[in-house]
Symmetry: C2
Subunit: 414 residues, 2 copies
């Protein structure tokens, strides 16, 4: 089953926005066994859109189209679809009734531009878009399916999840395909591959294992295809158990969980509070933790001690330690943790100090030298994390690795 | 002058990575007067790549290809290029000599896979890639130009900036096109459009003004095309002065400057230090400030006071204020600034407290109620920033708006 994605919009061609929709769609389609074999971004011109429909129909079974459905003059997708299918735009009473109800709930009335959105190609089946006013449209012609959706990401995602993918599954009777994602942090792809080599080598042909690395994290994705979905699920659950036995401690979560979500669950389960003391990460770790809704239940705060003054004054790092070992040292991050536990009044504290770069390195401590410490009232552990030369990447990667160190420490001692 | 971009790689089609290269290329090409009329992502198959070359050659003058140049078996772009041009892959001695020199500097020797990278289609001109081992390749056929580059973003960008764009400009004698970008924060697109309406209405046909909004920021981009580049530059410089007269205070920077870079320059110029006190932004503002290399010269630190305990203990916010007005109030952010100036020992302090959502709102203080205060020893000013329901967007937008408030305050009082 081959799909082409057609994204319509000059704003993508001139680089004003990045097309993130196609990657998301590619991932979701792949998960149900539909392979995307081409993505085309077409301009807002009749000629460009029409040509892209013709070409996609030559090579794909499923053609998914996003964008160009708004009420402005630029948005001509509907007209070109009607022309392509040799039909007219007709007023859809049912759609209009739906919009009137939708606006009534908001205490408003639909306007003329909403009325325009109810003119749809005569041959389409509408797909209800609960996130906006432009419906999705489903067309079938010569055994091929065309689907048109708005380009607004959350509207497209709603339609894909609730309408398009379920309908594609029934229309094409796709083969069952199931997945498991295991998220790890702390070691690289090649080390992980070594640890699970036996399991990977012995996987049957209907199961694939992929390693997806990204700045401190590596996700392992198991994919199984076959006829019996219950069996596939059972088989992958067993493989996840086997992988967990090999790399247990490195796993921070499953499926779409983030490391900060996992830390949140862990803190709630253990009834502990946390805080961070950050130098080179400059608040990035605290930002990650607080990106989780409800984090105020366990995260009390952070001290971004960018200057040595603040390290001394608020975290009680001694002037002697700073003079003897420098701000980027095992000794300093350990004292930061001790001071932070008291100053923030938390059960667990994480400290980071390093040289994020691109300047500030010395022969002894090159750019990318980063110390992380984590502790509670009884124990403190320090780790040297080695980064590269890129400031932004060092900050991102250190954030992930230090959160993972905090997670492992809480698991060990709480 | 029309260009097509062809991006090669299964990892894009399955959604493992997002294609950010094309948007960057579209933007850069647009700036020199070359219009991108289509972007195609092709799979790593000979058939898909070959077909994309044929189609692009039918409709475009310039075909820019990225990806598929690595040393692994998947990477077949070179072979398909040679086939398309009816030529062979031949060993390029000059390229090999360059690689030997490149590795000698690193104290290493090139290996067999590097040797493979020196086999290039006989009809290409090589473009030196100082960021990696795979060269760019330039082909001309029937008046069309094909360029093949690695897909690694910084390698592609290096080649585009130093080789491809200069060569395209001379080959196609493109019409001069000049740009000015003015970055603003604090008011929306429609307000800005109203303020510069007179200027926009009176622009000659050879100048266009675009508004590019993004979470708290709006960039104004002026583009002029014509024959006389010096005149175009002079004309746009004059327009920038006129726009500045209308919206002076809202402008935070020009061209690619970020708001945190501008704050850095301002702090250095005025010789002042800064710090932040953050509740709902959870360290995001400090992270933005410290994303600038060298920020330790003026940024001393931040206290992320997520809990009321820390607001009281470290920032001396009174229990009475918290009880009477709540943590999200004008009174609390003002006390946070006062406490922060002392605790951090800085000249200027910025405080943020709000309800980022999606939960935690009340009828009086709905999600998106966010207070920002900024002050020095003499003055403190507080502002209510209204956000929406989305946690991540509220945090991003508040970060931009509060940094802009800090910038304006320093400009006013330092």
């Amino acid at each position: 089953m081959h799909a082409h994605i057609i994204t319509i919009g000059d704003e993508i061609l001139i680089g004003q926005i990045i097309d993130t929709n196609s990657a998301w769609m590619g991932r979701e389609l792949n998960q149900v066994g539909i392979e995307v074999t081409e993505i085309i971004t077409a301009s807002d011109s009749r000629h460009s859109i029409y040509r892209s429909f013709q070409r996609a129909a030559e090579h794909a079974d499923i053609i998914l189209i996003t964008g160009g459905l708004g009420p402005t003059k630029d948005d001509i997708t509907k007209k070109v679809l009607a022309e392509y299918f040799g039909t007219d735009l007709v007023f859809n009473e049912e759609m209009w009734g739906y919009l009137e109800g939708f606006f009534e709930q908001l205490g408003r009335k639909p306007n003329e531009s909403h009325r325009q959105q109810c003119y749809l190609p005569a041959n389409c089946t509408t797909l209800r878009n609960k996130m906006g006013t432009a419906p999705g449209m489903w067309f079938e012609k010569n055994g091929k399916v065309f689907v048109s959706m708005p380009g607004v990401p959350y509207e497209m995602k709603y339609l894909m999840e609730h309408e398009v993918i379920p309908k594609l599954k029934t229309t094409f009777k796709t083969q069952p395909i199931v997945h498991r994602t295991i998220s790890t942090a702390g070691v690289g792809e090649s080390v992980l591959a070594g640890l699970v080599e036996d399991i990977e080598t012995n996987l049957p042909d209907f199961v694939k294992l992929a390693f997806l690395p990204n700045l401190g994290k590596v996700r392992l994705r198991l994919t199984a295809r076959g006829e019996d979905e219950a069996y596939l699920n059972q088989f992958l659950d067993q493989k996840v158990i086997e992988i967990k036995e090999k790399i247990g401690d490195l796993i921070f979560g499953y499926e779409k969980q983030t490391i900060s979500e996992v830390i949140g669950l862990l803190c709630k389960e253990k009834g502990v509070t946390i805080g961070t003391l950050e130098s080179c990460t400059g608040g990035r770790v605290a930002h990650d933790i607080t990106s989780v809704s409800g984090s105020s239940a366990y995260f009390k705060g952070s001290i971004v001690a960018y200057s040595n003054d603040i390290k001394r004054k608020l975290l009680d790092v001694s002037a002697d330690t700073l003079a003897a070992h420098g701000a980027v040292s095992k000794e300093t991050v350990i004292e930061m943790v001790k001071g932070g536990l008291t100053t923030l009044g938390v059960d667990y504290a994480l400290a980071v100090s390093g040289i994020a770069g691109p300047t500030g390195g010395t022969p002894d401590k090159p750019v990318g030298t980063i110390w992380v410490a984590v502790g509670n009232k009884e124990y403190i552990e320090a780790t040297l994390v080695k980064g590269g030369k890129d400031r932004a990447k060092n900050i991102e990667r250190t954030t992930t690795l230090s959160l993972n160190i905090l997670r492992q420490f809480i698991l060990k001692y709480a």
